[in-house]
Symmetry: C2
Subunit: 311 residues, 2 copies
Amino acid sequence: MHRRRPVIAIIGAGAVGGYYGARLAQHGHDVHFLLRRDFDAVRENGWTVRSHAGDFHMPPDRIDVHRDVQAMPRADLVIVALKTTANDQLQSLIAPLRTNDTLILTLQNGLGNEERLAELFGPDHILGGMAFVCINRTGPGALHHIAEGSIRLGEFHGGPRPRTQEIAGWFQSSGVPCDVLNDLRWGRWAKLVWNVPFNGLGAVLDWTTDRLIATEAGVQLVSAVMREIIAAAEALGLKMPPDMVERQLAHTRAMGAYQTSMQIDRREGRPLEVEAILCEPLRQARRANVATPHLHMLYELALLVDPATAG
Amino acid sequence: MHRRRPVIAIIGAGAVGGYYGARLAQHGHDVHFLLRRDFDAVRENGWTVRSHAGDFHMPPDRIDVHRDVQAMPRADLVIVALKTTANDQLQSLIAPLRTNDTLILTLQNGLGNEERLAELFGPDHILGGMAFVCINRTGPGALHHIAEGSIRLGEFHGGPRPRTQEIAGWFQSSGVPCDVLNDLRWGRWAKLVWNVPFNGLGAVLDWTTDRLIATEAGVQLVSAVMREIIAAAEALGLKMPPDMVERQLAHTRAMGAYQTSMQIDRREGRPLEVEAILCEPLRQARRANVATPHLHMLYELALLVDPATAG
């Protein structure tokens, strides 16, 4: 796709954007970060990543850091790692970075993000990906990579193309396991099976993942939520593996006391990603005529505790 | 019913038992309290009640305080104000107080308490009542009576009798508004319309009543829960007033920042009254073929946060 070194712009460099951008830069990619909160710290000291896969530091002279999108170069790939609660800024943040060939890969949570980007920039330029990573920001420019780290990505429109494989290759050669999905929607729903219970209940109860499944009552409730998401996915034609609930629980046990992003957002008084993680899945489940009472009440409870709406 | 002054025993004198017992004693009744936690304080200093209806003090020489039920006199009326989580003690606590004529009035929360007492002591001796009172224990022997204060009581078996009116009269002449119900089940379910959302959500979120209805999202969720309880009650043949949800909300707004008993139990690490307030209503709603998905998930969430089962 590119003779010269491709320009990669990371929009919304919180924990996820920071981590993957730092990995790409660590392996020689030309990475440009748009930062707000961490701009000063990262320009001064770069990214410091404490990682279960080996700590590393990405010094400021090997990355490019911006506070204003207007000062950034046109990008070959824009990686969107904004909170979905900031999706009203997608137009103003991405338009200045685009050429006719720019691809946009959203690593955001939940449903509806590719659709939004496709409306703004055309469906043919959009890819979506799920970050399977336990990562928390521990301070300005400082990340704690607790577990996992892979990405699954796919085309918004149709199956994989050479460009899909090429972008996956950039991650793969940067220490990031990356699969290409034949069906991005499948991947989105598969990830929701975990995200809905753990982000939803984690935020509502202000509990870490281990506490949510520490009792039989917790395992039962998390499993009930998961089964609803699986039922909705399957009604939408997306076949999930039969042992999915058990696998997700086993996998969560291995994470330890993990704070999901929605729990952290609640603690820090930021808007919750209710629309992308709970509401749009609920809407699609309803359209598919699948009863998802747990998802519905989780959505209602999340609205209650959402700092964006709470009194 | 009685020539001599009737003997009234209060079993489980937390905030509710302490308050109503102190009111009866204040108005000349022969009241005997079975106390555990507050035994020393009440024997020493009596009951001190800060009340929206006028503070009062019930000195120790005007009440009778016991730590051991075996030392108590036989009672004409046993008022049960135990937590329902201690219902396995009903036999051992009440049997020593009974004569063939002893009546037992449970003021406990939720459903199933009269049934339990009827199995143990015969249905003909059982009455049930709902305490409509905002009252918190603020220290040993110290109560804060925040709002309301009435009781509604009725016979477990059949409609009111002369004895029902007589007991109601004891309360009425002691500064406690008291209605006699034609149908106790109606009263139980009417009270659940408030108790399920406010105790349930209050415990799960650890929120006071005012916070639960401070936002539109909260009003919507509380109303949805109330509507389920109303639907279940009506399927059981218990007609509720059409404006019940609005009235309960208005009434709750007037309470201010009230901590329900279930929220307090959670905070203090005591078992939650999940069985009586959430599980038995859920069971009865199911038997009546009424869908109560919010009640179901509240029940599941309450199990999660219940100190009796939590890790």
